[in-house]
Amino acid sequence: MRLILERFFHNALALLAVITILFFMFRLMPGSPLAAFINENLNADQQQAMLEQFGLDRPLWQQYFIYLGNLARGEFGLSFFQRRPVTTILLEVLPNSLILTLSSLIVAYIFGVLAGAWLAWKRGSWVERAAVPAVLATRAAPEFWIGMVLLALLSFNVGWFPSGGASSPGLAYSNNWERIFSLDYLHHLALPVLTLALYLQGLPLLLMRSNMLEVMHEEFVTMARMKGFSEWRIVLHHAARNALLPVVTAFALGVGLSMGGNVVVETVFSWPGIGRMLVQAVSVHDYPLAQGAFLMIAMVLALMNFVADLLYMVLDPRVSHGRAG
């Protein structure tokens, strides 16, 4: 329990540091010191409201604590160009990003784990010798480039998938959930998911492979072999189970990391997610929206780092023993 709290504070402090860096970064920006929250696009009433809400006429250190208080209440200010609260805009696009990230990670990890275990089993064969560099190459490819190639081949060339967006124009749904569970949405989701999954499968695959190779030499596997179990049973029941532990932790970390990396894939496929929102906000200098989107990504990252820490402790008892002693 003490350890869990320790990890919690560690990650919370890191997040606070990110928030602090962001606070100063957006105040060192070109333009007036008010530029982080006020812009001529907002009308006089809105400008006054922002001035008061963020205490922009007060000393910097007071502004910092007002800013923290506003964040804690989920207040990120008003978007310059949409003239709506940033929080509302972000909550609209967040589900799209989460769905994209989670479905691609799930596809990538299922494939990666199975293929990794299989490659470990095939150790020394030509398949393994050819597969490892090929997998490294997928990890070396820029995500957006994989997306571009798939888009050209599968969308523009053979027309199997739509070229962008999250739903076809002209379709109306009674609520957001109905839209998300529609076939049309899945159809739009498929190509971005395939792109991300192709990029992400390398890590679980290589991890699983090397873990399997290590585990296969452990005594309990030899024991199972001596008991005369079939090779498949040994691979699945004895080796894979233990080799899987670090992969589970990597999955949690992957959610946080790929939320940030999604920025490019969302842009390639015009996927209305938080990463594309960030890119658009930065390019039109919509500071409050950019700040909010960045913080949202940073929060997911911090949360998933914490989850990974917890999983690590739960799944690998040696860690907590080592730390406590």
Partner: protein
């Protein structure tokens, strides 16, 4: 097998840079992966050096056909090996000249990351105490920033220039190398030969630079090789998103240009496939080389 064991770090700690450098230079000859990586690096360095001879047309020049029209979207052929862009620019020339900017970005980021990471790792690991605590907290902070979003925000606000991208990449990548080097220094510090040097009255700087630094050189090299790839991918991604230097011919800018001018729907594969392949080759070369050094010099770190 015996050779490998002998060259592994824990077995034979070196007390000077030369034997380590000699072993590092010999490594690619023994590891086929690292050898391939080195050949790829060499190839791109040569292309970058002789770019003007390899591609004589200006990559940004708008070319015209004999009939006097803009040579837009030409198919690959004898005159333009990879065809031309929608504005009539030679794609092959862009690809060749893009090598220069890729290597410039990659190498400068690698030098900064390796230098900062090594110095911080040495100081932090050897002296410990307050310096260690502060440096490692800064490293934690840098690691909890989302990578690409941070680079975008920084270049978006500081201005779209290649040096800002390198700066942002270096800011985020040094902690990884610093942490690993620090832990390596921690174990080296307790070794008998370092203890012996200390007892005979060697100064801290002598112990650090003569007895410890040579042994972590291969690690610095591993992180430099990885940083080259990361920096090139990041520069490409940032350029693709439209925050790159618009006057700089780079692989990322080519991809952005191709994407924005609908080369995908026209099926101009010769425009957007080659830059991607070049990026993959350079990054994979980094993976191969770092893998080779890890296997030879730090067998315990293998497998990640």
């Amino acid at each position: 097998m015996a050779e490998r064991a002998e060259s592994a770090l824990p077995a034979a700690p070196a007390s000077s840079f030369w034997p380590v450098l000699r072993r590092m230079a010999a490594m690619p000859l023994r590891d086929p992966f690292a050898f391939t990586g080195l050949v790829i690096y060499l190839f791109f360095v040569l292309v970058a050096l002789f770019a003007d001879q390899l591609a004589t047309t200006d990559p940004m020049e708008i070319l015209f056909t004999k009939a006097g029209k803009v040579a837009a979207n030409t198919a690959p052929g004898a005159e333009f090996w990879l065809g031309t862009t929608n504005l009539g620019r030679d794609i092959y020339a862009q690809l060749v000249h893009g090598t220069r900017s890729a290597l410039a970005v990659g190498l400068s980021a690698a030098v900064i990351v390796a230098t900062v990471g090594t110095v911080v790792g040495l100081v932090s690991g050897y002296f410990g105490g307050a310096a260690d605590a502060i440096l490692m907290r800064i490293a934690d902070m840098a690691l909890s920033l989302p990578f690409l979003p941070f680079v975008i925000v920084l270049t978006g606000f500081l201005g779209a220039s290649t040096s800002n991208i390198v700066l942002a990449v270096a800011l985020l990548l040094w902690p990884n190398s610093a942490r690993v080097i620090r832990s390596q220094v921690l174990t080296l510090r307790e070794r008998a030969y370092v203890e012996a040097a200390r007892v005979t009255g060697a100064s801290a700087s002598r112990i650090l630079f003569v007895h410890i630094a040579p042994n972590i050189l291969p690690l610095s090299f591993v992180y430099a090789a990885i940083a080259i790839g990361w920096a090139i991918i990041t520069e490409a991604s940032v350029s693709f998103l439209g925050f790159g230097d618009p006057d700089n011919v780079s692989w990322g800018m080519m991809l952005q240009d191709a994407f924005a001018s609908q080369a995908l729907s026209r099926g101009q594969y010769a425009w957007f496939v080659p830059p991607g392949i070049c990026i993959i080759l350079v990054v994979v070369a980094g993976f191969f080389i770092s893998r080779g050094y890890e296997e030879v010099f730090m067998p315990r770190l293998r497998g990640r």
